[in-house]
Amino acid sequence: MVVDEAILWSSLVLLVTGLSLHRMGPSFHRSRFGFPLALLGVASFFLLPENLGDPEIEVYDSIIALVKWVAPFVLGAIIVLRSSSTYGEPSSFGLLLGWSLIAISWIIAYPEHVSVSSTDVIGASSSLLGILLGLTLVYIGVSFSERSVGLESYSDPLSEEEGELVRTILLRRLGGDGHGD
């Protein structure tokens, strides 16, 4: 039972770690481990836990119930965006398919959320307030620490090869003959 609870929390930690590594970008080599780690977290969350305690079973059930309707919603939203003229190639079939998926997701979600009481909303708002408070304080702390420590060193000037590369990129993007014209 304790092992299952540890697996549940570890899978969520793995998911967040994977997303964080993925967001580091290609300049950090470990970013390539982000997607597999996140996938491992999702797989272990859905496949491994069996006998969970009270708080963990609530988390597990609520996330499973969420995925059931959020998955078609996200898929539908992506299809609608790609089928609109602003973000992709306009396509009536794509719009129809996307909106059908969004409608299906609302049909799945509606019976579960139709009986939401004001207490639930107040509770959820309190929790959201705590999340926003935490993020704000972390942001203030990070910006304070960034300002309090000055520049450690200046970066080296571009080498001849790097300067040539930058010149080539600028010429390719902006045009001109390379002599200021």
Binding site: S20, M24, P55, I63, I102, S105, I122, A124, I131
Partner: protein, 108 residues
Amino acid sequence: MAIDFSEFMLLVAGGVALSASFSIIHFASTLNRFNRSLAIFVPIILCGASIYTTMMLSDTGPASSFSDSIASSIVSLVSLFPIFAAVLTIALFRITLLTNRPVGASSQ
């Protein structure tokens, strides 16, 4: 209809614990030579403060109060998703209706 003050504080502390835990995991996994070491202390202090608050209010041990508060925060956050989805649906509706019109030469 309403929740009492201790329950409100438990939920706020849970929210703080959730965001601070997320920040700690993010800092730890993306640690590199450009990181400012001072920054990671803020979420650690926030996590400690939220665990202490939850322990005082619920009379449980640190581990169970931490997991309870984060679990209640995740469940509450999940219950707000229909509101986020409703806002997104309206935005998608606007995109579908307003951006699929032919744009004339005089349009700005």
